[in-house]
């Protein structure tokens, strides 16, 4: 294992991405619009009253946190993995004397930094304009951080596994589109999970999607009891194990199935 090479690769990728930052800023802008829409729509709907347990301010805090969490856990690498496999771009990566995962990791980290450079200031400005009243409790922040890291890992490896199906099918990214729609509906984007209609809400608790975005935010905003948090971590851990398992298996069998394209 050549870890030093990996670290250099991460630095190089980050530097090259910063050069094209305006392009990535436009992408990040597009991704933050849907949560913004729902921020405005729900807080207007709440007005002076509350919907469920949510006041106007609670919606604003929830969706501002969602903009950040969604961007932090979003993995655009999942979309490029399929292209790399199809185009034969995987060859040079396989030939390098380090695990190919470093390549993916390098773009992940570069992406996170570049996108955050755009998303954090915008969110801060929005918070200053909208001025929601909020106080976070220390224990919620402490529980939020591991939930966020697990959410990122779950979303990343889940999508990575789906993308690796490109070893067998040429248009595997169609599945990623389905995944995005499910994330929109069941991860707390269209509405916070507690506000979803009955059956869908119950399904959302047991399906993996809530644990990719909504769960950490629900912890941070103090909507969950200690028991619910514990249960959530358990379900999140189980799905992460599943995602790790199947992406690992798909990689092992896929790489044997892989025949390079090009010269």
């Amino acid at each position: 294992m050549n870890h030093r090479g990996g670290i250099v690769l991460i630095q190089a990728t980050w530097a090259s991405w910063l050069q094209y930052r305006s392009f990535f800023f436009v992408l990040a802008f597009g991704w933050m619009i849907p949560p913004l829409i729902y921020l405005f729509v729900w807080s207007t709907a709440a007005g002076e009253q509350t919907i469920g347990a949510f006041s106007r301010d609670a919606f604003i805090v929830y969706y501002l946190a969602l903009i950040l969490v969604n961007q932090l856990t979003y993995s655009q690498t999942n979309w490029t993995v399929g292209d790399v496999i199809r185009s034969g771009g995987l060859n040079p990566i396989l030939l390098r004397p380090m695990p190919p995962l470093y390549n993916t990791l390098a773009t992940e980290i570069a992406g996170k930094i570049v996108y955050m450079l755009f998303v954090v200031p915008i969110t801060a400005v929005l918070a200053l304009i909208l001025r929601p009243e909020v106080d976070f409790e220390l224990q919620h922040i402490v529980a939020f951080l591991p939930a966020l890291s697990l959410a990122w890992m779950l979303r990343f490896f889940w999508g990575y596994g789906l993308a690796l199906l490109a070893f067998w099918a040429t248009r595997a990214d169609a599945l990623l589109a389905v995944q995005d729609s499910l994330l929109f509906l069941l991860a707390g984007q269209v509405a916070p999970i507690p506000l979803l209609p009955g059956v869908i809400r119950q399904a959302a608790v047991y399906l993996p999607f809530r644990y990719m975005i909504g769960f950490p935010i629900e912890i941070l905003t103090g909507q969950l009891s200690a028991a619910e948090i514990g249960e959530g971590f358990f379900i999140q851990g189980c799905w992460l194990a599943v995602a790790l398992g199947f992406s690992h298996l798909l990689w092992r069998y896929g790489i044997r199935h892989y025949t390079a394209v090009g010269g």
Partner: protein, 263 residues
């Protein structure tokens, strides 16, 4: 007549190109169905919690979604593919291939705006009209013939508005050929999914007067639900005409900056 015949040829050429990639058809169906489902469920979830928001109920918001889907479909049918091909790193302006368009003995703006068609958008169009029909049935207000006529008129002006704004955004590409101005527009356009009245005052002003995407969908929906005043309709018509003339002028102005690919 000459122009109509030309459009016929453009459509035929585009369809022939599309038929070469038939597997894409199913991916397209998937994307269309997903965006329809998420769009409708988004409204359903919202109106499970509240009955009306600032005068908009489920049926009228559904009508607005129908307008949004119809406009998106029309955009995808020809305005989008034609204008998008100008922008970006592999766009006509960056590569200098706009030469071939400019050399032809027809109006430049006409050619740039209608030369590419995506026939699949007809499926989107049918679904958008389907949503509109469903909304009309749901509406408490009975839609009269005058309502229908005004609706059709405002829908046409909506398309003109959409076209004019896109033309302005695309004209900006002449100053910065690599920047994806149309993606920025895509983000803003998504806000038209919901009625203007669901946004806070300052944003309402922006979406009505600065980048009038909100007007495009809100006005036709109001025409259907009978909430449109004559004075507002007149102002809307004037605004659209003004913007159309302004955008055409701006495009010609921007075109002068075009320096082809050679130095």
């Amino acid at each position: 007549m000459y122009h109509v015949r030309l459009i016929g040829h453009f459509i035929r050429a585009s369809v022939q190109q599309e038929l070469a990639y038939r597997a894409n058809f199913f991916i397209n169906v998937l994307h269309t169905v997903l965006s329809l489902i998420t769009g409708i469920l988004g409204i359903v979830v919202l109106f499970e919690q509240v009955n009306t928001i600032n005068g908009w109920d489920f049926a009228s918001t559904l009508a607005l979604l129908g307008v949004y889907l119809t406009l998106s479909a029309l955009r995808r049918l020809f305005i989008g593919p034609s204008l998008d091909s100008l922008a970006g790193m592999d766009g006509d302006i960056w590569r200098g291939t706009l030469d071939f368009t400019l050399l032809r003995p027809v109006s430049k703006q006409f050619l740039v705006s209608v030369r590419m068609w995506e026939s699949f958008a007809l499926v989107d169009l049918a679904l958008g009209i389907g949503v509109l029909a469903a909304a009309v049935i749901e509406l408490e207000h009975t839609v009269s013939l005058t309502d229908m006529l005004i609706f059709t008129l405002t829908l046409i002006t909506g398309v003109m508005l959409l076209y004019s704004i896109l033309l302005i955004f695309v004209s900006l590409v002449f100053w910065s050929p690599g920047f994806m101005f149309t993606w920025v527009f895509d983000g803003i356009f998504q806000m038209a999914r919901y009625p203007l009245d669901l946004y806070p005052g300052w944003l309402r002003l922006v979406l009505a007067w600065v980048i009038p995407v909100g007007i495009m969908t809100t006005v036709p929906a109001q025409a259907l639900t009978g909430g449109l005043s004559a004075a507002f309709l007149l102002g809307h018509l004037l605004l659209t005409t003004g913007l159309f003339i302004g955008a055409s002028w701006f495009f010609r102005f921007a075109l002068r900056r075009y320096a082809s690919a050679s130095s």
